[in-house]
Symmetry: C2
Subunit: 348 residues, 2 copies
């Protein structure tokens, strides 16, 4: 269940677009030419800091307006606003947001405003260019989206980057990571609930044999996890647990510092218990020394419209404190307000 709160009566998109445009215009830095920038500092020397022109509230008001609109519109509504905005002002709303906002707040607003498939394509592309920890982002997109949504990401990737997603993933990874990630992002899993029990038993046995032999990146493990439907993977892992007395992820914990093993465990969790996977990601990103804003922003913007209510429930159960409270304790300002709005805190 989504945490996004959309008001019962939404203004027409041209009105939203107009409000957003006003939010930018009220800002003396809107015209970002060096001249006006200098003018701004000159002015600053002469006016009192309490002057309404540079009043902190007024700055806040602009950003508050942006949050009050965008954080309470669903994907179809945001797309319409972007379209109408471009027609009315001849500019891309995203580019204007990019000019007006900064740091964590900016990233949250931009990611959120993007269409989900475009956003995933953007995150995936960014991940192919970063270090190995970003393999998790690729796995997460591949495993937690529906088959059709993952395909839409691949289409958006073509449109935006003039390349295929799997092409970039294959090019930027090597070894075991490539062996796992390329079929994950290329998958178009069957989504029915049908389960083949005989197959589940025989493949549970294969998994157990390979794991016992510490052949963690064996092609049979990869095949089972990357091609079977989620229902079938789940049935196989249930048989694994029943037949061998341990959940598979327990048996995959032997080597503490093996990054591939960590990714394999995360893959299994993301395929079978996405809400637990996301809960843990949020927990680690908030609790670690210095919040991991990238992960926090990613989870909130990508799940707010999908299953954030389930994730919040899981978070509360696991941490004995609500996600709202932990986010409020760890973030501040407009960034905090944006995240809280997206996870459904307060009224639309």
């Amino acid at each position: 269940m989504a945490s996004l709160k959309v008001p019962a009566s939404v203004p027409p998109p041209y009105e939203d677009a107009e409000q957003l445009h006003k939010a930018f215009e009220g800002d003396p830095l809107h015209d970002e030419s060096i001249l006006s920038f200098r003018y701004f500092f000159l002015l600053r020397l002469f006016v009192d800091s309490s002057d309404v022109l540079f009043d902190a509230d007024r700055w806040g008001t602009n950003e508050g307006l942006i949050i009050s609109i965008l954080a309470h519109r669903n994907a179809a509504q945001r797309n319409l606003i972007r379209k109408v905005y471009a027609e009315a002002y001849g500019q891309d709303l995203l580019k204007d947001l990019d000019k007006e906002l900064s740091s964590d707040f900016e990233r949250a607003v931009l990611l959120w405003t993007l269409d989900p498939a475009e956003r995933d394509a953007y995150l995936a592309n960014e991940a192919t260019k970063r270090f190995s920890s970003s393999n998790w982002v690729l796995m997460e997109i591949a495993c937690s989206r529906s088959s059709h949504d993952l395909f839409k990401v691949r289409q958006a990737y073509h449109a935006r980057y003039k390349k295929s997603l799997e092409e970039d993933v294959a090019y930027h990874t090597t070894g075991d990571f490539r062996k796992l990630l390329v079929p994950l992002v290329s998958a178009f899993r069957y989504e029915g609930e049908e389960v083949n029990t005989i197959l589940a038993k025989s493949e549970a046995k294969i998994l157990h044999e390979k794991i016992s032999a510490k052949a963690y990146s064996d092609e049979e493990i990869i095949r089972i996890l990357t091609t079977r439907s989620k229902a079938q993977v789940n049935a196989t892992l249930n048989h694994y647990n029943n037949a061998f007395g341990n959940a598979i992820n327990k048996n995959l914990k032997e080597e503490a510092d093996n990054d591939f093993l960590k990714l394999l465990r995360a893959t299994i969790k993301c395929l079978t218990y996405p809400e637990k996977y996301f809960e843990k990601l949020l927990r680690l990103s908030i609790k670690k020394l210095g919040t991991d804003e990238r992960a926090l922003t990613r989870v909130v913007t990508t799940r707010a419209e999908v299953d954030m209510e389930r994730i919040k429930e899981e978070y509360h159960r696991r941490n004995s404190v609500t996600l709202d409270r932990d986010i409020a304790g760890d973030t501040s300002g407009d960034y905090e307000r944006m995240l809280l709005a997206l996870i459904g805190h307060g009224d639309a």
Copy 2:
């Protein structure tokens, strides 16, 4: 260019459906109950073989009617006929065709009548159940269809088999064949014409190094061939030829009896010169001792609506005889008539 000939004025689908239904009804074996079968043989004892009821021409007429309709309708028109037929007679046209027809002619009519994506899903599924030579069918579907058409095949596979295509391919293959075929059938290649020349040069070098080391199934070779756009693969192979003095397929001919190497060469040909790939397939299927009807039927039914004119041109150039003539020389009866109609012989 397609070889399919559709008449300038096509009858409405209900008329086609009615004609097809009549074609079946004119046939005394239509009601396939044992009773009528016996009745047929009893009748046979009493009537002169020249009697119109069992006149060879009359049988031919039924099949001729089927050919005259179905072999001259495009995919959208055939789909409409199937829909209208099912509504009017409460039966699946394909099931009735299956009852009425037999052997090579039956297979050609059934394959042709199927929607292209359904047909490919059917052929691919059949291929996963057969011996290794059918790996070619999987490769052919993966490499010669457009990215969107291949995705439609994967959707049709879900709908028909309640599984994913890559799941069956991975399950039914092993070793190097699996390493190549799974990414091939899972690919969603970028289809733009943009080429990265620097990349083409560096990847041509990688290919040459691996091939020189006889590491034919190296993961880098697989990555390049399975993830790059066709335009990019082509540019890379052109650089290979320029830089190393040989077309890549020449360098892949070292081991005559290596089935994987044969498949790799066919993959390269199918990606870069599909019309030559299909020409050779037709040539081998016709020229070999005993026609290979499976391959012949597959190529004709899958390419008639796509690029058969190009393939015929290539065939003529390579064999100094037209494809029409070779097909007429090697096949007979309704099967021959069906194939010739599909490759554009005679009027619509």
